[in-house]
């Protein structure tokens, strides 16, 4: 009962905005090209979700159901985010671990990192096209850069901030250097690392939308830019909503993963 109440309470503001928006659109306050009514956006979103073609001969029902443009675009974007993130984080994690653990390696790489880190991934777009041409590779490159630095910086900080008491306890138990690293330093650093992962995924998601506006012909970023060319503002907004939903889904998934991996952590209540 209480849950329902708070749900209704939370829904109040969005519903109000939608109602006012719908009323204004119907009253003809602005043209449908500039700002379509929410009902029109919803209809478009539904059409965008459903398969465009009738079920073809020999196509499975599920395959047909999933053949809609929206799902294809969402899948393409998600695929790029994950691939780019895995590349970026996959490089940042080992580098961050050694930089955090070894001062000499840290001092060797740190100037380079500090110079490159403030460059926004978007600024790499021209270079990305020059180096990788069109298609997925420049997207992967840009997303990887977006994910790389947050994961790197947090991994370094995580390793450096391991409480000395754990190291002493471990040495007292007789661990060797490798075990100390894998069983003590690495888990002790995970809260930091996962915070970096979360920021990195967020950046990756911003970068994927931008990168799709330049070099590919599917994905949510591409779709809203394409819709602009035809002045389909309803489709633009439907695409934006989809981007929001996908972002929310990614963040929820990462936060679930976080909660699971950090179930031992003091700061977390679940």
């Amino acid at each position: 009962m209480n849950k329902l109440k708070s749900l209704m309470h939370g829904a109040l503001a969005p519903v109000l905005v939608l109602l006012v928006w719908e009323a204004c659109a119907r009253a003809g306050l602005f043209s449908a090209v500039v700002m379509p009514a929410p009902s029109a956006v919803a209809a478009k979103w539904w059409a965008y979700l459903l398969p465009a073609q009738p079920q073809a001969e020999g196509q499975s029902y599920l395959g047909w159901l999933l053949s809609g443009e929206l799902l294809h675009d969402a899948y393409s974007s998600l695929y790029r985010v994950i691939a780019g993130f895995v590349i970026g984080a996959g490089l940042a994690l080992p580098l961050g671990l050694v930089m955090g653990a070894n001062t000499r390696i840290h001092d060797f790489f740190n100037p380079l990192v500090q110079i490159l880190r403030p460059i926004p991934p978007i600024a790499y777009i021209p270079l990305a096209i020059l180096w990788f041409g069109l298609g997925n590779p420049p997207s992967f490159f840009l997303i990887a850069i977006g994910a790389f630095f947050p994961v790197l910086m947090n991994t370094i900080a995580g390793v450096r901030h391991v409480d000395g008491i754990y190291l002493r306890a471990a040495r007292n138990l007789g661990v060797n250097q490798l075990t100390l690293f894998t069983r003590v330093i690495l888990p002790a650093a995970t809260p930091y690392i996962l915070a970096g992962v979360r920021i990195g995924i967020g950046t990756a998601f911003i970068v994927v939308i931008v990168s799709e506006m330049i070099a590919v012909n599917d994905g949510l970023g591409f779709r809203i830019l394409e819709a602009r060319e035809f002045m389909w503002s309803d489709k633009i907004i439907a695409g934006m909503i989809t981007i929001g939903l996908l972002g929310l889904a990614i963040d929820t998934a990462v936060s679930r993963l976080n909660n699971h991996l950090l179930r031992w952590h003091r700061g977390l209540e679940h």
């Binding site: 002493r168 306890a169 138990l173 007789g174």
Partner: protein, 263 residues
């Protein structure tokens, strides 16, 4: 057997304000199976001495040997129980206890058996799969003790292990520690600044002076266990040691006053 020989040990810390002599001329022989308390006010070098025995901070002069072998680094032959528990928060109770054994590459079945015995011994059975964050302070310290017992080291070093616990839990754990010590015959070097705790536990109490930390009194406690803190003998000793510790406490306070005056 594992006799600890602390031979003319000194430790000097270099600080921005000049060298600090944390301990000096410490000469102690601790017999196998002995329960020794290091007693003294805060800052008198108890942890410094314990850390030197543990191998975390080597002394600046003198040497510490165990069975004639000089201590150069920490090792599982000297299990340490820290005041801050120092349990690994990402491991469950059972995993914390098992960790030292895994490091020693014991077989799975050996590990499981030892862990189960220790869970039993320290009444931790119902908590085996909990994480440290879900345990009370007393429970955490039980796990820390179990973790060290798992190593089966002949020597246990304990740095104010019960300092953060309430009186009841504290007494409870003191009794458990005595029970375990009597059962397993460990050599225990136990740091405390509680006079009562030291008399309740120790075969022998080493009272330390404040800066530089030296041995002020090496006191044998010749009372049968379990000791009754309300008995006359207990209280007589308590008064006697209390006066000694008070003197050092006073020197501590005076030293701080002087420092404040210089500032």
């Amino acid at each position: 057997m594992s006799q600890i020989l602390i031979n003319n040990v000194q430790k000097v810390f270099t600080t921005p304000g000049g060298p600090v002599v944390a301990m000096k001329d410490i000469q102690l022989t601790i017999q196998p199976g002995e329960f020794v308390c290091l007693l003294g006010p805060s800052g008198c070098g108890k942890s410094t001495l314990l850390n030197a025995v543990a191998g975390f901070q080597p002394p600046s002069a003198g040497e510490i040997t165990i069975e004639g072998k000089k201590i150069l680094s920490p090792g599982p032959d000297r299990g340490m129980v820290f005041q801050e528990y120092a349990l690994f928060p990402w491991m469950t109770v059972a995993q914390n206890i098992a960790f030292g054994l895994e490091v020693q590459k014991k077989s799975r079945s050996d590990i499981a058996q030892t862990v189960n015995q220790l869970l039993d011994l320290l009444h931790l059975k119902d908590f085996r799969d909990r994480y440290p964050k879900d345990l009370s302070g007393g429970m955490r310290q039980r796990v820390a003790i179990a973790r060290v017992l798992a190593l089966d080291s002949p020597i246990m070093l304990m740095d104010e292990p019960f300092g953060a616990l309430d009186a009841l839990t504290r007494r409870n754990l003191q009794d458990e520690l005595l029970r375990i010590w009597e059962k397993l015959g460990k050599t225990i070097l136990f740091v405390t600044h509680s006079i009562e705790e030291s008399i309740y536990l120790a075969d022998r109490i080493v009272v330390m002076t404040y800066r530089p930390g030296t041995v002020k009194r090496d006191q044998i406690v010749d009372m049968p266990r379990p000791r009754d803190p309300s008995s006359a003998a207990f209280n007589a000793l308590k008064r006697e040691l209390g006066a000694l510790v008070m003197e050092e406490q006073q020197r501590h306070a005076n030293a701080e006053m002087k420092l404040a005056a210089v500032d």
